[in-house]
Amino acid sequence: MSGPNTNYDPVQVSPLDDDHVQAMVDEALAAIAAARTTAELKAVRIAHSGDRSPLALANREIGALPPQARKDAGQRVGRARGLLGGAIAERQEALAAAELDAALIAETVDVTLPVALAPQGAVHPITAMMDMMCDVFLDLGWEIAEGPELEAEWLNFDALNFTPDHPARWLSDTLFVEPTQNHTLMRTHTSPVQARALLARDLPVYVVCPGKVYRADEYDATHLPVFHQLEGLVVDKGISMAHLKGSLDHLARSLFGDGVETRLRPHFFPFTEPSAEIDLKCFVCHGASVGDPDNPCRTCRSEGWIEWGGCGVVNPRVLASAGIDTEIYSGFAFGMGIDRTVMFRNSATDLRDFVEGDVRFSRSLMGDAR
């Protein structure tokens, strides 16, 4: 300090002198530096910067100073307090950051622990595959037609050009409802839905018919008395077998990938003429397993081709029984087993698993036909 300070009371003024303030500051800075937690720092702040801290008390003394000294002391104490405030804030930030880091580490959990709010639900593979197949045709602008499983014999057989003595009508093949003279039965295919669609809908008709069908069949690894079919029906002007092939190729590519190859093989069905079976070139071995016993293929059983379903041009007699002018309209129809499709597409080995309700089977594709 310059100049004489004769007005000062040396006793009273001493705490506010430079050395003394510096001493308080040094002591406070040391305490701040020594604080290892935000809690300790809080105590330091109260002790050295709080209302009852030496600096605060010193600050109060300023008013008692002679006016001349007041300014100097005020500046000195103010600078000191500012210095301490900055130091505390800086230390606070550092300690808080460190404490957060420590807390985050301390709060670490094992994120690999099992967490389940609900048990693992699942959609049955048949349902998933049925929806997937239907979606392919919905996207082509077709609709889904449905009908009853217990059906009139006329719609299941007669309307589809089965002769009165056709073997499919025998009790050995078809489940009839008592009394048999009522001519009702468990539908043997979803084709009666096609017959209903032709009776109920305006032309042109573009529908798929998914659903359960029944046969008086064995119950074993490769046969079920109740299984699921998807049938398709198109009746429009100028429909040919090429449209049938195109639609089935489209479905095959959607389910089995772009490279899949199909073939139509002549066959016989009462409701189609010409009739064919649709075969898939094995999408696993691509026919390489044929005649190569060392590399068998379980998907096609080393036959190279997989029989997928039946199809053909709708027999004009079927259209006639729905009152459709066969000189103007023609159509095609196809049908395949959904169970069978799941079986070879997803490598299932036993059809009984499809209907025995074991939750492991339902969960095996995790709700998705994939």
Binding site: A118, P119, G121, A122, T127, W142, E143, I144, E146, L150, A152, E153, W154, D158, N161, P167, L171, F176, V177, E178, N182, H183, M186, L199, P204, K212, A216, V226, G238, I239, S240, M241, A242, H243, G246, S247, D249, H250, R263, L264, R265, P266, H267, F268, E273, P274, S275, V313, P316, R317, A320, G323, I324, S330, G357, D358, V359, S362, R363, G367
Partner: protein
């Protein structure tokens, strides 16, 4: 149909070098579904030769058998010179006794391998070294005959045997067989002749039909025949062959072809009829002429008639239905199905009447099915036999009996009726290309159909075509389109996706069902499918009260299992079985659901009509078709048992119970925008105190809750198993078709909690409904957050604590407004439910 390829190649000259595999491939492409190719004799290796027995010694054994120690001359190449024993030959032990010194036999020499990997080696047996084996038929894979060893005549099929020569060649063991599945419309391919025709067409080579022989006009110059039912028997041919040597053997080539075709050799006469049937497709029958009594008559059965068929079964005949072959003694055969025992060929039969006839397919089909007598003959008649074939086939068989059996064909023959006329058809030649979706030239249509045996004429693009007598399947224009398609190859058909006029996607119901399934799976329920058949036991265990509609089950006429003759009326039995199957496999925590139809008879149903198929049924007929069907609602059911969630690191197990069954229904409803109302219900098979009746829009759609303990015990289910079953069609039908999005209020929420004391038996839903109604439009939500029973509220009482949340659309609610709304809510609850605000 099994086709020995050597036989096929005798009938049609396929291009040189054509393999059996190549033939099979063409068959498949033409619609003859090849099941497999067999390589007969390919499993035999090493020396199997012709030998002659030069001496034999019978040696009784301790085990009671008598073996024969034989010396067999197997030719200089194979005889054993080292032994020094003369005459030259090999010593062989044989257990059979049907041969004598001097007989020619088949010997498998050491080093040979017979079917089944049976390796032949010199081995010591019965005190001798047996240096080979004398073979029986079954040991060579020639059938299942093991009654004795094969004894060959000195001359086989015109060839004088040489000792030591390859016996497999002599026996014609080496051949190939294509087995094909013949579709019902191609019955003519149940013959080598038909297959040869198809093969010729597939390879573009001509086929000369050995049976192309016109049927002469009717005549009664042979054995007298009368046909009373010409509709069922349009053609009947009878030839008489006399003096057939009953001991004449069936030649090896014929026996072997029969064996490869899957038929056993029986006697020359029977074998000849079978051989001609396989070759031509014409089933035949041979009668012992000396056992026939009077003229043959073809007629329908009269009441009370019976027939002893060849299988020694006495069969009651169906009057007016069964078509019979009769003589003065009565029925002697079931036409086209099976002959009778009285005129059966015997071991002494020398004089034979051959029958070749054409029978009505429907009559024969019904007969063999009614009598459960499927046969090679009935299979062919059912699919339709060439109506012009009988005469040629009868002559072929007669000639074989003459040639092979030394018989004499009597000059007179009997022909009743004649070939059926075939219906001609006209269609535009362009139809083939239009329907197949392939380029098909008009002349190709004509040439294909001509090659198939049709008479074809073409005028101004219109084809007039008459099929051959063996093609009854060709009737409509589209039948000819298929014939053309099969013959040019389906691989010619193009591939293009047809353009639909545009669909409307899933229906609202279809979309809703998908949403329900997805929501249930997401909520933790597992979809299963079960078989829809139930039995009396299943329904009894549910303890349904009299009059319950689930007792009105539809019965099947021919159930797969007599114990489950009904269609399900509820999904629960199937799900219970699924639970038990899972728990038996140690999967105890189960939340299963199934969606499927049930069938409710609801009283007797009218019969379904069978309208004329040539035109559209009228609206009344369609209505009658539907009226004949029982109600078939689609149900959703679930069964929950074990733990909903197992005990884990962060908490104890959550046992599954009635609440999960209700939650299933709620989940399904919520997925399609519905809220399920509940009240206590009483319904089998649920626990009367733990059953909720579920409704939407005032309509009861199902029940949920814990199962009745006696049902649980009867079904063997785990204790406390819960179940739900709802009418999914009804649920889906109640779903809102559209919804309203209201403006969201940005104003603050006012919270008011109330605790109400009510009788312990008061349903919480009633209290909540009263609170809702009293609270009015300001109420945003209400939630039950606590239930208290105990001394503070008194015996038989409970306290329900609700959190009420109020909000106004347009302002901040004042405390007074919120309190007033709360008080109004409590007031209604007090009035309706006797609720008292808990102090």
């Amino acid at each position: 149909m099994r086709a020995p390829i050597s036989w096929l190649r005798d009938l049609v000259r396929v291009p040189p070098g054509t393999t059996t595999e190549a033939i099979a491939e063409r068959w498949t492409a033409a619609g003859l579904n090849v099941e497999r190719i067999e390589h007969s004799g390919s499993d035999i290796a090493g020396p199997v030769v012709v030998g002659r027995v030069i001496s034999l010694v019978e040696e009784p054994q301790k085990n009671g058998k008598t073996i024969r120690w034989c010396r067999v001359d197997v030719g200089p190449e194979h005889n054993d010179p080292a032994s020094g024993v003369l005459p030259a030959g090999r010593g062989i032990v044989c257990g059979a006794h049907n041969f004598a010194v001097g007989d020619h036999v088949v010997v498998a020499l050491p080093g040979a391998v017979l079917p089944g990997g049976f390796a032949i080696a010199a081995r010591k047996t019965y005190g001798h070294v047996s240096d080979g084996m004398i073979c029986a038929e079954d040991e060579l894979g020639l059938g299942d005959d093991h009654t004795g060893i094969i004894v060959l005549p000195e001359v086989v099929d015109g060839h004088r045997l040489l000792l030591g020569e390859d016996a497999l060649g002599v026996l014609r063991v080496r051949d190939e067989v294509i087995e094909a599945d013949i579709t019902p419309d191609t019955g003519y391919c149940l013959s080598l002749r038909g297959l040869a025709r198809e093969t010729g067409q597939a390879f573009g080579v001509s086929f000369d039909d050995p049976y192309a022989r016109p049927v002469p006009p009717p005549r009664q110059e042979g054995y007298p025949v009368r046909v009373d039912d010409a509709g069922a028997c349009p053609l009947f041919v009878a030839l008489t062959v006399t003096g057939v040597d009953p001991a004449a053997p069936t030649p090896r080539w014929m026996a072997q072809r029969l064996a490869l075709s899957g038929m056993r050799s029986i006697s020359l006469s029977v074998d000849v009829t079978n051989y001609v049937m396989l070759e031509s497709g014409q089933p035949m029958h041979a009668y012992d002429a000396d056992r026939l009594r009077g003229p043959i008559v073809v007629r329908r059965a009269a009441a009370g008639e019976t027939l002893m068929t060849l299988d020694d079964q006495q069969r009651a005949l169906r009057p007016g239905e069964d078509l019979l072959i009769c003589d003065d003694s009565g029925p002697i055969g079931l036409a086209g199905v099976m002959g009778g025992a009285t005129t059966e060929l015997g071991s002494a039969t020398r004089n034979i009447v051959l029958e070749a006839a054409c029978f009505d397919p429907v009559t024969i089909g019904r007969a063999f099915r009614a009598h459960k007598l499927p046969s090679e003959a009935s299979k062919r008649f059912e699919r339709g036999v060439d109506s012009a074939l009988a005469h040629a086939a009868a002559h072929r068989a007669a000639q074989l009996l003459v040639d092979l059996g030394g018989g004499t064909l009597q000059p007179g023959e009997t022909v009743v009726g004649g070939p059926q006329s075939m219906p001609s058809q006209r269609f535009r030649a362009a139809l083939a290309g239009e329907i197949l979706g392939a380029e098909v030239a008009t002349d190709q249509v004509v040439s294909v159909l001509r090659a198939s045996g049709c008479a074809v004429s073409l005028a101004e693009g219109v084809v007039t075509v008459t099929p051959p007598t063996w093609r009854r399947d060709l009737v409509d224009g589209y039948d000819y389109v298929e014939e053309v398609g099969r013959k040019i190859g389906f691989e010619r058909i193009g591939s293009s996706v047809p353009v639909s006029p545009g669909g409307r996607g899933l229906t609202a119901d279809q979309r809703a069902r998908r949403s329900v399934i997805a929501a249930l799976a997401a909520a933790g329920f597992v979809e299963v499918l079960t078989l829809p058949f139930v039995g009396d036991d299943d329904l009894t265990r549910l303890a349904l009260p009299a009059g319950d509609e689930r007792l009105g089950a539809v019965r099947l006429a021919n159930p797969l299992a007599d114990t489950q003759p009904y269609l399900r009326t509820t999904l629960l039995p199937g799900l219970f079985a699924a639970v038990n199957r899972n728990t038996s496999r140690s999967q105890d925590d189960l939340a299963l659901f199934e969606i499927g139809s049930v069938f409710l008879a609801r009283g007797p149903l009218p019969p379904a009509p069978m309208p004329d198929v040539t035109r559209r049924p009228n609206d009344q007929q369609v209505a009658a078709l539907n009226a004949a069907l029982p109600a078939q609602p689609r149900m959703l059911a679930g069964v929950i048992t074990g733990d909903w969630l197992p005990a884990t690191w962060n908490g104890p197990a959550q046992p599954a119970g009635w609440a999960h069954a209700i939650a299933l229904a709620q989940t399904a409803a919520a997925a399609i925008g519905l809220h399920v109302q509940r009240r206590a219900g009483v319904r089998a098979p649920w626990h009367p105190g733990r059953c909720a009746e579920l409704s939407v829009g005032g309509r009861v759609i199902g029940w949920a809750g814990e199962l009745h303990p006696t049902v649980i015990a009867a079904e063997g289910l785990p204790a406390r198993t819960a179940a739900v079953e709802i009418d999914l069609d009804a649920l889906v039908g109640s779903a809102p078709r559209s919804g309203e999005i209201r403006p969201l209020s940005p104003w603050p929420l006012a919270k008011e909690d109330v605790a109400l004391v009510v009788d312990a038996g008061t349903p919480s839903a009633e209290v909540e409904a009263a609170l809702r109604e009293g609270a009015g439009a300001l109420l945003e939500s209400i939630a039950l957050f606590d239930i208290y029973t105990g001394p503070q509220v008194g015996e038989g009482r409970k306290s329900l604590a609700y959190a009420l949340r109020f909000r106004a659309p347009d302002r901040t609610l004042t405390d007074a407004e919120a309190s007033a709304a709360r008080d109004a809510a409590v007031a209604v609850a007090a009035e309706r439910c006797g609720a008292v605000l808990r102090g």
